[in-house]
């Protein structure tokens, strides 16, 4: 299939459809609304389930219901909407049904604004709801990667019966780039054995996250932890550029990583040996890769479009001895390449944490 010029939000939506998404429930919120709009036309055309819910809370519970019924189901939202959906994430994790969620992040806290941000890092990787669970979190940096990771998200959701986030900032949602869509997959002929389809010719199925006894709930949690450990060892994805020879490794994901790549050109021209580690999965996180790099005496510069959220994971990975600097922009601002160049100079001189103001 040939490349075409695609807007990020539409690419997410069409990739989901081609991956076999047969039910979508969502609620309008900028900067992801084109995704919902794309689904509102295409899903209906294809005879699949589309519904604009009365709220994000209702949307995620519709998603939960459809997932329990055996659907390959997805929702999408942006930061404040993701916060509202947290109730459902926890139930979905506890009842082990497959769900894909796309989060086109915007600036916060509060109503914040609709500018691009990476301020949901904590929310999606650390506290997507009450109880002990992690969603798988995929973070594309291009429109093509948005497509590829959306398809992967459906596969991982089904394989592990878990919730999978694809998180991108509003810039990726709104930008247009050439990208190639995958071919249309056929829909599954029948629902999975565990799904709610009416107990014809079998004993009833139950989709549930309620375990009243401490023993039984701990047993569930142990099983969930086993699953999460399996995901950690099998599904870690990250990109590295020139890290082996680098004195300074920039750690960044999504749009911040793209800007960092531009900055790296300038730094390389200046003769500075700089590399990039770009987590593609934010959970699981490339802890060991960062640790290994830290053993060879490298400095680190974490660049994020937030106040330093992934920074904590990097610091935990490399330990207290490794020099770690941070540069971030907040509130919907995107770091400029020259700001990252300056931050790299500073990082090599003396580790520092810095935020740039407008």
């Amino acid at each position: 299939m040939a490349q075409q010029l695609l807007k990020g939000n539409n690419a997410f939506a069409e990739a989901a459809i081609r991956a076999g998404c047969d039910a979508y429930f969502g609620y309008p919120i900028t900067p992801q609304t084109e995704l919902l709009e794309h689904m509102s036309a295409r899903m209906i055309e294809l005879g699949r389930v589309f519904l604009q819910a009365e709220s994000e809370v209702a949307a995620i519970n519709m998603v939960y219901g459809a997932a329990a019924a055996g659907a390959k189901v997805m929702t999408s939202s942006s930061s404040p909407g993701i916060s509202l959906m947290q109730e459902g994430y926890s139930y979905i994790a506890g009842s082990e049904v497959p769900v894909v969620i796309i989060d086109i992040m915007r600036g916060g806290p509060g109503l914040g604004n609709i500018q691009p941000s990476q301020s949901d890092y904590f929310q999606v990787t650390k506290s997507a709801g009450h109880g002990d669970f992690h969603p798988i979190v995929l973070a594309p940096a291009t429109v093509q990667e948005a497509i590829d990771l959306t398809v992967l998200a459906f596969d991982l959701a089904q394989q592990y019966r878990t919730l999978v986030f694809v998180v991108a900032d509003g810039a990726i949602g709104q930008m247009m780039e050439p990208a190639e869509l995958p071919p249309m997959r056929p829909l599954p002929a029948r629902a999975p054995d565990w799904a709610l389809t009416g107990a014809k010719g079998r004993s009833p199925n139950l989709v549930n996250s309620l375990y009243l006894g401490a023993d039984s709930l701990e047993t569930l949690n142990l099983r969930l932890q086993d699953k999460l450990h399996a995901i950690e060892s099998a599904e870690l994805r990250y990109e590295t550029i020139d890290v082996d020879d680098a004195d300074l490794v920039i750690v960044a994901f999504g749009t911040a990583a793209r800007v960092a790549k531009t900055a790296m050109q300038t730094l390389a021209d200046e003769g500075i040996r700089v590399g990039l580690l770009r987590p593609i999965t934010l959970w699981p996180f490339p802890t060991e890769a960062l640790y290994d790099l830290s053993r060879s005496g490298k400095s680190f510069l974490v660049v994020e479009m937030n106040a330093g959220q992934m920074l904590l994971d990097v610091k935990a990975a490399v330990g207290a001895d490794a020099p770690v600097s941070f540069f971030g922009r907040m509130g919907g601002a995107i770091p400029m390449p020259e700001e990252i160049v300056a931050a790299a100079h500073n990082a090599l001189a003396q580790p520092a944490f810095a935020w740039a103001g407008a």
Binding site: A58, N61, E87, L206
Partner: protein, 265 residues
């Protein structure tokens, strides 16, 4: 069980419905949740829907409803049963989907979801248990608690200045175009139980006919949290609740009336 088979020269008049699971319920003695469960199970038996039905249980005393029906089931977050039921029904439009919700779940935390499920005319059925109190959490004020009713969170009686008025959900939902059937019945004596069962059957028939949202509000007892015997609780429903929550049909869609007329002929 052998002792539930008729002897020679006897016929069976009433037996426990098949759709009701054999598990013992956790409900308090005399709690009419059990009665409502049994009526639903009888209706599903009579309509032959057991293996076509998906139950969405809610949060409250009926949180374990999925243990008490031999049907496919799931458990929704507090108030979200209508949303979860929507997701299921949209994916399986040929299945029968019903929610079973109490007054805190449906009329308070889930007020938005129930209104919108009705407004979309979702072809689902809701059985709404109104016992004017939060049962599972230990007897707090519900949106349907009566004016002056003492609960553990309205110790001086429900004061309308402080806590508003009893919510009339069956009437409210009847005013929504997507609602095909909205009625209120009571479970306080045998005659009313029989009427309640007829309404439950009509509600499921509305779903089978695909004509929109159907809800049966059932006035029910909570002997434990009301601090009364089961018998006195039934009297309290009759004497205190029914005057506030009149029994009756608030919406019966034309299609449903025609269908009922046909079945009568």
């Amino acid at each position: 069980m052998l002792d539930t088979l008729p002897l020679e020269n006897e016929r069976l008049v009433y037996a426990r419905p098949r759709t009701l699971a054999s598990r013992y319920t956790h409900y308090c003695p005399g709690c009419t949740h059990g009665t409502a469960h049994r009526l639903i199970a009888e209706v599903l038996d009579e309509l032959g829907l057991q293996d076509e039905t998906i139950l969405v249980a809610s949060v409250g005393c009926s949180v374990f409803a999925y243990d008490y029906f031999d049907v496919d089931a799931c458990e929704a977050a507090h108030g979200r049963a209508p949303a979860m039921a929507t997701g299921i029904k949209r994916y399986h439009p040929d299945k029968i989907v019903f929610t079973y919700q109490g007054d805190g779940d449906l009329a308070s935390i889930g007020a938005a979801e129930i209104i919108h499920v009705a407004n979309r005319g979702e072809n689902i059925t809701t059985i709404f248990i109104n016992n004017a109190i939060y049962g599972m959490t230990g007897g707090q004020m519900a949106p349907t608690s009566l004016i002056g009713q003492k609960t553990t969170s309205s110790p001086f009686g429900r004061d309308t200045q402080l806590a508003g008025y009893p919510m009339h959900m069956a009437e409210l939902l009847a005013g929504i175009p997507g609602t095909a059937y909205s009625v209120r019945r009571s479970l306080h004596d045998a005659r009313h139980v029989i009427q309640a069962k007829k309404a439950i059957k009509t509600a499921f028939e509305a779903q089978m006919a695909g004509i929109g949202f159907s809800i049966v509000e059932l006035l029910s007892t909570c002997p434990t949290n009301w601090g009364m015997t089961p018998g006195d609780s039934c009297d309290w429903v009759r004497d205190q609740m029914v005057p506030v929550y009149p029994l009756g049909d608030f919406k019966v869609a034309d299609e449903l009336q025609q269908a009922r007329g046909r079945s009568k002929r």
